[in-house]
Symmetry: C2
Subunit: 472 residues, 2 copies
């Protein structure tokens, strides 16, 4: 009984069950998510989504923060709550994913934190306020750091074990596995915060599971990040409805016409859920060094290395100086990121041609290399036409061969065995801080970014996580 | 290019394109939907959904009506607007489907009106108000009857042609086709009201299509009707986002990793969409005489006939007088409605055993026969244990053989060739009015029910459909 197994494990999970590496992975996942949600708010997608919601009048009294909004602790008019929990969860979910800069569990290609953390923070903030006033999807008093981390881990483990049980079949047919598992993870996490009993947690899983959001057709458009925002809302709504007695099915996942069978041709959820609490998948979560499809990262590494080496030799890199850029990569690279002629920054995030070109030309791949302007820059356009991609199933997903042939006939080759940011070559704590600071500083300045970093890295020690936004 | 074909057809559709039978079918579909939305509001599902939303503070200023709420035109405090358009659409969607009493396009098993009409009315009401005040997801002034009907037909045709292109494969795997096609239909309909150009309509279809709500695992629970409510919101949100420039994909449906391929193993959308405007699927819409799974309707007809005939002979029908109830039916009956021991009214709607028992015992199958109390009634429980079901692929979906063996050894047999309410044996206008009045009277009384009937049957002649709720 997979649904029962997942619900009862989550219901019974306590902070004492979490090992030190699990807590460390959870905190990193959360502050990496927060940095992405703040930095990503500069994109059009979260702004359009927010403006649409506001213009339509779809939103109740503000209880929860939109992380990238530029209020300060002095803005006491709204106490830094900018939206109701449902809207805040939606916008933070979109913003945290829109740069494709978040996190990755490579064994399932799930970006696990966005949906779960966006839902939890919105609820924690609403609960923080309900100790002072009415409304807000809360009830139950402030959420402590340990409670928050426990709920977060429950949601992430739900996503990742569920993902493992259907990967790769579920992914290969075209589902965006981050959001299809995400609504269920968010329901488990919020259900944990709400203190649902096992039966209501099962109903919450059911209501979440029947809202399957996300297909790969939308990679490279604003709808990719919409998936994360909408799955966040779906899971949140599911948990709230289940708390009030809304019924779904106690066997939602394993039912002949339920999630596992409808969205996949294979599942081993019973075996996978038996591992819950034994194998902590969150320990295999990694953090992206580049804001784009993760399968391109090893090729970017190689291109950046060649940039650095070429410039160190005193040679220039330009459209004139480069003759060909040859890549040998895992076949998934062309499946997921094969756009040859992107026209927007978002599409550039799914173009191995663009990624290799900017890595070689600029020696970096930050959000600044994935803007509309750079994607349309004539030198970049010219360079990406020089990129030739050969796929080879013998090349691992975190590896790549990059060879640049220059106009003077010289060549430089790099083999990247494990991309930066992969499990075998993870970002260090310093690199994670640099990534956070880069994203947050551009939005709220360096001094407040430092405060935000301090706040989110300390989240496990807070007595009221719902106050985190007031600390920066 | 299926997405373009659908979007451009809908964008260019005008009221002048609608034939008289199409308009007649649309008006019947709309007033049948309204009756179901008003009557269905007595159920727990819409109440829990509404209370959850309100308690969580998820809802903006009221612009739109919840049809079953018992306000009168005298309640000018809120002008009969009880919720924002998103919440109203959600609750009306749930209420219109929760009794399983709505409408059916049998070739696809889609119940087409709930999602489309719930979305459109909420927007039309918001637009009616924006001529007087700000907000409400509106803009563009009042929606006339012809505009409303044109948008409704566009949405319904989108659902039904899309459904035809993937049926039965899409349904057989377990999707609740009403809501999976419904979000797209709602997006097309609302996009039409908003005046989206073809490209934005394509983006709206994309955003709607990536929100796939509804699996058959939830038949018999509150989540079945949640599917309709949530798909209504999904389509509404998709159209609003697309209007503001949110991007998805211009080829969302036919993309290798888009709707048609991800949720079905077969599609012929290009051929199907070529029929748009030529074959009006709405003319094949039918209206349910019984509030339960439609595949049980022929068996109910037979059971009711036997009840009437038995009572006319002066014989009693009781647990003592009946020995066996034998049914020979289409195999889909057990696939969809095979619950042998339902414990709730909602579950009884998906139990052929319950349906045959109440048809025989009470001589009717109205909402009153599908309450929790009747499902748990000991005579009903006893009788349904006497029901034996044999499936036979040679029996059409709208046909059934019913044989009752009485304790005195006598038998009565009925063959129902075309169930009441089927395309070959449709409800008459008088029967539709009786159905409407029964549902609406119990909620708001007979005098107001008459006014509501007059209002909705006249909807095509209104200059401002957004005022319909003020007429009763």
């Amino acid at each position: 009984m997979a649904t029962f197994a997942l619900a009862s494990w989550a219901t019974n999970l306590t902070y004492a069950n979490l090992t030190a590496p699990v807590i460390d992975a959870a905190v990193k996942s959360i502050y990496n998510w927060a940095g992405c949600a703040i930095g990503g708010f500069t994109q059009d997608a979260p702004h359009i989504a927010l403006n649409t919601t506001v213009a339509a009048g779809f939103g109740g009294p503000a209880t929860s923060s939109i992380l990238g909004m530029n209020g300060t602790a002095g803005d006491e008019g709204n106490g830094l709550a900018f939206a109701d929990a449902q809207v805040a969860a939606f916008i933070n979910g979109i913003a945290s994913h829109v740069d494709d800069y978040d996190d990755t569990h490579l064994a399932t290609v799930i970006h696990p934190s966005g949906v779960v953390a966006s839902a939890l923070l919105a609820v924690a903030e609403a609960r923080s306020r309900t100790s002072r006033e009415e409304g807000g999807g809360g009830g139950g008093g402030p959420v402590s750091g340990p409670e928050f981390l426990t709920a977060f881990v429950a949601g992430v483990e739900a996503e990742l074990h569920l993902g493992r049980s259907v990967f790769p079949e579920h992914y290969d047919v075209g589902w965006h596995i981050t959001s299809t598992t995400g609504s269920i993870g968010a329901a488990v996490a919020v259900g944990k915060l709400l203190g649902l009993d096992t039966a209501r947690a099962q109903h919450a899983i059911g209501i979440a599971s029947t809202q399957v959001v996300g297909m790969q057709a939308f990679f490279g458009s604003m709808t990719k990040s919409f998936h994360v925002g909408r799955a966040t809302q779906s899971g949140l709504l599911a948990a709230l409805l289940a708390r009030e007695g809304y019924t779904s099915s106690l066997t939602a996942l394993e039912d002949r016409y339920g999630w596992l069978h409808v969205v996949s041709t294979r599942e081993n959820a019973s075996a996978e859920f038996a591992l819950l609490g034994g194998t902590w998948e969150i320990e295999a979560n990694t953090f992206k060094p580049y804001p784009c499809g993760i399968v391109m990262h090893p090729a970017i590494d190689g291109a950046i290395q060649i940039n650095n080496e070429t410039l160190a030799q005193g040679k220039a890199i330009s459209l004139d100086s480069v003759k060909a850029i040859d890549l040998r990569v895992n076949p998934e690279v062309l499946v997921l990121t094969g756009q040859t002629d992107p026209q927007t920054g978002l599409a550039g995030k799914f173009s191995i041609y663009h990624a290799a070109a900017v890595g070689l030309l600029y020696g970096q791949a930050t959000p600044a290399q994935f803007t509309d302007a750079v994607v349309l820059n004539s030198t970049v356009v010219g360079l990406r036409k020089l990129v030739n991609v050969t796929t080879d199933a013998g090349v691992a997903e975190d590896a790549a061969y990059v060879n640049v042939t220059f106009s003077d006939g010289s060549t430089t080759s790099k083999y990247v065995e494990h991309a930066i940011g992969s499990l075998a070559n993870p970002l260090t704590v310093d690199e994670l801080k640099t990534k956070f600071m880069d994203q947050v500083t551009k939005q709220i300045g360096k001094a407040r970014a430092e405060k935000a970093y301090a706040a989110f890295t300390n989240i496990g020690n807070m007595t009221d996580v719902g106050k985190v936004r007031t600390l920066f």
